[in-house]
Amino acid sequence: MKLFFIVFLNGLTLASLYFITACGFTLIFGLMRTVNMAHGVLLLLGAYIGYEVVEITASWMLGIIAGGLSCAVVGAFLQAFILGRYQGDELRQTLITIAISIILADILLWAWGGLTYQISLPEMLQGGIKLPILNVGYSVVRLTLIGMAIVVGVLLWLLIAKTKLGIIIRAGVDDREMLQALGFEIKKIFIIVFAMGAALAGMAGVIFGSALSISPGTDIQFLLSSLVVVIVGGMGSVGGAALGALLIGLAEQYGLAYAPTYGVVFTFLIMVTVLAFRPQGILGRAEK
């Protein structure tokens, strides 16, 4: 029973990370129909930058901000100068993001080597606390992570539901041409959204690097989890990303705990089941 709850908490932490990462992915996909295959490598870039900043300034918050901001800049650059030129040609864009992810991953490997890095945490988040009822210790940073995912989710919801930018983004998801016809500078909006999505990846990278550790290969793990999460949850939907992340995170952890040699099969089965009954994802909308 104890194991069951510990695994549940582990699943939640993993789901939180998946959610923050997949949010950026689904945001970009929802508006621009671009499958950003460089999303994982952006996460790795953010994590490395965050590591350096934390080492220099000894401030964890600054590390997260720096990781997010640097990815936002790279993302905006990609959309403005490379991807934006092929808007509407999604397949070509996808291939371009694959090429960029290969190149960027190699640059990162060059700069930071194949070592494993761990970002040092502020004292407040180190160690563990004793959980009530269960009477077991659990690491504070993992619990904080769950809180952070909720904060990110609420902030994104507020942004999309309540602000002017959110209204424009929603309108763009529904009808891009109409938005353009109404005189909104769609190119600028695309760049902003791409930067936002990349920033989320970068921040997730720093958080992941503090809670666990980062090394080459982390990028692929998170690209794939983002893919599966949005396939299951529904492409372009933030709520779907939350639901998908929860399902996949829990399935992965329970699979690992109870059926170590067949763990992946659960994730795969969830995906196949969803695709069989709702090809657009649980909360996704059907393509017109």
């Binding site: 290969i102 060059w110 795969f268």
Partner: protein, 331 residues
């Protein structure tokens, strides 16, 4: 068979007489095997309109089957006569292809990329976790290629010709399949699925058949690959070979079956020689830049660009002649 194709075949048949063992093994044979795998991808892309990331998985399934049923040094599996092993390998890869098709049947374009990628990565992690069939990380090693009609496939010249025959058969199958009624239905599904349904052809079996066929072709390359490498492990079905295959297809061009092989030889040449000019460690950066350049500047790939350039020159010539005739008439 057209004249240029015949010329290429003749060159490929007599080439072993002029090249070293290294070239024969590492460049030619390897390119042809990669080309068959890429062919299974370009077939799906050109005729069904989907980009599948699962082709390495399908090849891997055939490869694992061969490894399991062949003599190997891992101590896992059952030894079967080569003919049965090959038949089983191709059967499994075809069935796996059908399964991928059944899962991805409703997705086209970028959606198919995401779903097939998720499938292939699930398989990759599965091979790593599972020790009873796939032997985990380490996989199978020391696999011996069989002796066929008294000729050992361990011999590089024999193996080269076996690969060449397989590649020709694969190309021939693709051409025959695409002009068969089923192949035409596949192209119909790509262009106008609704109309295909309207004339009474259900689209799902057609899509599954196309994937299954691509699984068969991919399986051919999987079998040959294991015989050449003499080993297979989870890394053979990982993300990096999966993306390499896409790069090969994009570099060569998707429109014509030959594009896959042109892409493969280009990739292998870059892999073997261009690297020496820079540093071995930066291979990924170079191949990434090549991909970026091809996608941005020549989206039809090398073969596509060559063909359209030739067409343009021909058109220009025709126009010049027409103008001349016109001028002559006016005078």
């Amino acid at each position: 068979m057209s004249r240029p194709l015949l010329l290429i075949m003749v060159i490929l048949i007599i080439l072993p007489a002029f090249v070293s063992d290294f070239w024969l093994n590492q460049i030619l044979t390897r390119s042809i095997i990669l080309g068959i795998a890429a062919l299974s991808l370009t077939f799906l892309t050109t005729y069904l309109g989907v980009v599948s990331f699962a082709q390495i998985t399908l090849a891997g399934i055939a490869g694992y089957t061969i490894a399991y049923f062949s003599p190997n040094t891992t101590g896992l599996g059952i030894e079967l006569p080569w003919l049965f092993a090959v038949a089983l390998a191709l059967l499994f890869s075809t069935l796996a292809g059908a399964l991928v098709g059944a899962i991805a049947k409703k997705s086209v374009g970028i959606y198919s990329i995401m779903i097939t990628l998720a499938i292939s990565m699930a398989f990759f992690y599965f091979t790593r976790q599972n020790y009873s069939i796939f032997n985990g990380w380490t996989g199978f090693s020391g696999i011996t290629a069989p002796v066929i009609f008294g000729l050992s496939l361990e011999d590089s010249l024999v193996f080269y010709y076996a690969t060449l025959i397989s590649a020709t058969a694969a190309g021939f199958l693709v051409v025959k399949f695409t002009s068969s009624p089923l192949g035409l239905a596949v192209q119909g599904v790509k262009d106008a699925a609704r109309r295909v349904r309207a004339i009474g052809i259900p689209t799902t079996p057609v899509i599954i058949a196309a994937y299954a066929f691509s699984g068969f072709i991919a399986g051919m390359s999987g079998v040959l690959n294991v015989w050449q490498q003499e080993r297979i492990s989870s890394f053979s079905v990982g993300l990096s070979p999966t993306i390499d295959l896409l790069i090969i297809a994009v570099i060569g061009g998707m429109r014509h079956p030959l594009g896959a092989f042109i892409g493969a030889i280009t990739y292998v040449l870059i892999d073997t020689f261009v690297i020496d000019l820079f540093s071995r460690d930066r291979f990924n950066m170079i191949i990434g830049l090549v991909l970026l350049f091809i996608v941005m500047a020549a989206p039809q790939g090398i073969l596509g660009s060559f063909l359209s350039a030739r067409k343009r020159i021909k058109k220009y010539d025709n126009n010049a002649i027409k103008r001349k005739i016109k001028n002559d008439c006016e005078i």
